[in-house]
């Protein structure tokens, strides 16, 4: 079991390497030099100064050499300095150790994605099970409609609608930011409640697409499993329906879902750009958007790499989950 996990872990390294190479090459293919954004703003810059700047960032070297230089720094977790006016190190912008854990960008994005994963798990799986065990019932039909709408719903639009309803019309929830103006003056429980209120809409929005997908696949997977012979056997030996469904069928049906959750991590992380932008959440997605708009190459490459690491981490967690659910793999 340990060897299996170790093997999976070491398989991640070439993948991570490949991801950074692909991202690096694609960004290099874009027209213009990364330093353009530094020089364009400055009309007084001389060609010599421009050349010096290019040399400083290694832009006079061939592309593969540049990638090598970049990679050498990244293994030491040094993503370089941001091109923005503050010139701070990229890592410090993403993970600012001077701030409380909950206000660090990477933590915010990770936390919201984690919460929405948990939400997907505890809501979608029971829905999928019930609609499979009561196939063609009214509940099944209603959830099918919900699922189809969920698949087709542009999440950013749904976010706008919820903002209008709960933020403006009913005035129940804040529509922007991750804490209130008076946050510092609140008591501890007040602060927790304030964060919770700011989290409700973003977490729900980021989970929404996944809710539809996972409940659909759970239903399909469950329907397939309950037609198997071993389920008939379990029923025939007189087990209660609860035991048949939750002990015999669920475990096998969960296997597909675990793989699916692992695969959905890149989508969740990519989606964070959208909801962080809409709700003004100061996370990694918002930073990425700002970086992209200002052509901040070191920042963009840094976040792409960290996003890929998070994805691979998600895949590894899915593998572990798979192992817990499937004794056949544990035995290996």
């Amino acid at each position: 079991m340990i060897t299996y996990l170790a093997k999976r872990f070491f398989e991640m390294i070439p993948t991570l390497f490949g991801i950074t190479l692909v991202s690096f090459l694609i960004l290099q293919l874009a027209p213009g030099k990364p330093t353009d954004v530094l020089t364009e703003m400055n009309p007084k810059i001389t060609p010599e100064a421009r050349e010096r700047l290019e040399k400083l960032y290694g832009l006079d070297k061939p592309m593969m050499v540049q990638y090598g230089m970049w990679l050498k720094r990244v293994v030491k977790l040094d993503f370089g300095n941001s091109f923005s006016t503050d010139r701070r190190p990229v890592l410090e912008k993403i993970w600012d150790t001077k701030q409380a854990l909950i206000d660090r960008r990477l933590f915010i994005t990770f936390f919201i994605n984690l919460l929405s994963m948990i939400l997907i798990f505890i809501v979608a799986i029971p829905i999928g099970i019930s609609s499979a065990t009561h196939q063609h019932s009214l509940f099944d039909k209603i959830t099918t409609v919900f699922v189809f709408i969920g698949f087709a719903m542009p999440t950013f639009w749904f976010a706008l609608l919820l903002m209008m309803l709960f933020g403006i019309h009913l005035d129940w929830l804040p529509i922007s930011g991750f804490k209130s103006m008076n946050y510092e003056s609140l008591t501890l429980s007040g602060q927790i409640w304030d964060r919770t209120r700011h989290l409700i809409l973003p977490v729900f929005i980021s989970a929404f697409g996944g809710l539809a997908g996972v409940s659909r696949y759970m239903r399909g997977s469950m329907l397939e499993v309950i037609r198997q012979d071993y389920i008939t056997t379990a029923r025939a030996k007189g087990l209660s329906e609860t035991a048949v469904i939750y002990k015999h069928a669920l475990r096998n049906a969960l296997l597909t879902i675990i793989t699916l959750l692992g695969l959905s991590v890149p989508g969740l992380i990519g989606g964070s750009v959208i909801f962080e932008n809409i709700f003004g959440i100061p996370g990694m997605g918002q930073l990425f958007y700002m970086g992209v708009m200002t052509r901040d190459y070191p920042l963009v490459m840094g976040i792409l790499t960290i996003g890929a690491m998070l994805t691979l981490l998600g895949n590894l967690l899915a593998d572990i989950g798979y192992m817990i659910a499937d004794p056949r793999i544990r035995a290996k």
Binding site: S23, A30, N315
Partner: protein
């Protein structure tokens, strides 16, 4: 079973699926509207009318006006052109790449296959939306760039499908027969195997149009997709966000349009999938 009866069987099955037919009709109507946008839209989509800024829906402006007094209905009608063309071109690019890559991988196997599958794994681990966002922002917005970038980042599913089909078809008798007759690899790949693996590719292309439309609208909403004054459903929603407290119609209608369009493509795709799945043919449903 000859070709005629297969087609007939497929059509009878598809026809019975009322939701899929409804979806198909909506898609057809949308095509009609997009093609004849200049005839069906009540106003010029770029006509600025400073006397009627941010007006709620009324008889003269059924879906209201935006912050420059432009008619929202007309802008949405012209916006449908963007959604449909981005959907089709992006999926066309993705499907062609996916078919070629999948065919090579499945047909030749061995090292070629292993390397290609590794590349696909890598592409699937990149948060694609991050990459699309970065590339578009760096090479500049513009409809062609969006189509190409969405196409280049969404071929992996098709490639996997085609590879699986090739793996199961390449050992079949008709392929062996073609090889025995001395047909070239190219001929076997395209004339013998590819034609027999088109059904699942077609289904995934229809579903792919739906997701490409969603990605385009999200990009335009974030301000790096289709640039105003060219109207797209996504960039009208940006105005909706900016005026969220005063103009609900800017936020509601374009979203409904995206929802209905994407839903229709999905329904058609699911209908095709069920109708093409031989496992469901005997069920009398």
């Amino acid at each position: 079973m000859n070709d005629y009866s297969l087609k007939k069987l497929f059509w009878t099955r598809f026809k019975r699926n009322r939701l899929a037919i409804t979806g198909g009709v909506v898609v057809f109507v949308l095509f009609f509207i997009a093609s004849f946008a200049n005839l069906v839209s009540p106003y010029d989509p770029n006509d600025i009318d400073r006397k009627h800024i941010l007006e709620a829906p009324s008889v003269s402006h059924p879906l209201g006006t935006d912050d420059l007094g432009r008619d929202v209905l007309s802008r949405m009608i012209f916006g449908s052109r963007i959604s449909l063309s981005v959907g089709f071109v992006a999926v066309g690019i993705a499907t062609i790449i996916g078919m070629i890559v999948g065919a090579i991988s499945g047909y030749y196997g061995g090292w070629t296959d292993r390397v290609i599958m590794r590349v696909i794994d890598i592409m699937l681990s990149i948060p694609t939306f991050f990459l699309i966002l970065a590339v578009i922002a760096f090479i500049g917005p513009g409809i062609w760039n969006i189509m190409i970038v969405i196409g280049l980042t969404s071929w992996m599913g098709v490639a996997r499908l085609v590879r699986a089909e090739f793996l199961s078809l390449k050992e079949r008798e008709f392929v062996l027969a073609a090889r025995a007759l001395g047909a070239s690899d190219m001929r076997i790949i395209f004339r013998h195997i590819m034609v027999n693996s088109m059904a699942p590719v077609f289904v995934s292309a229809v579903l792919g149009v739906a997701s490409a439309i969603l990605v385009e609208s999200a990009l335009s909403f974030l301000g790096i997709g289709i640039q105003p004054p060219v109207p797209s459903w996504g960039n009208i929603l940006t105005l909706g966000k900016d005026n969220i407290e005063i103009a609900w119609w800017l936020s509601v209608f374009p979203g409904v349009a995206i929802l209905i369009t994407v839903l229709s493509y999905n329904l058609v795709g699911e209908g095709l999938q069920d109708a093409l799945d031989p496992r469901l043919w005997g069920s009398g449903k």
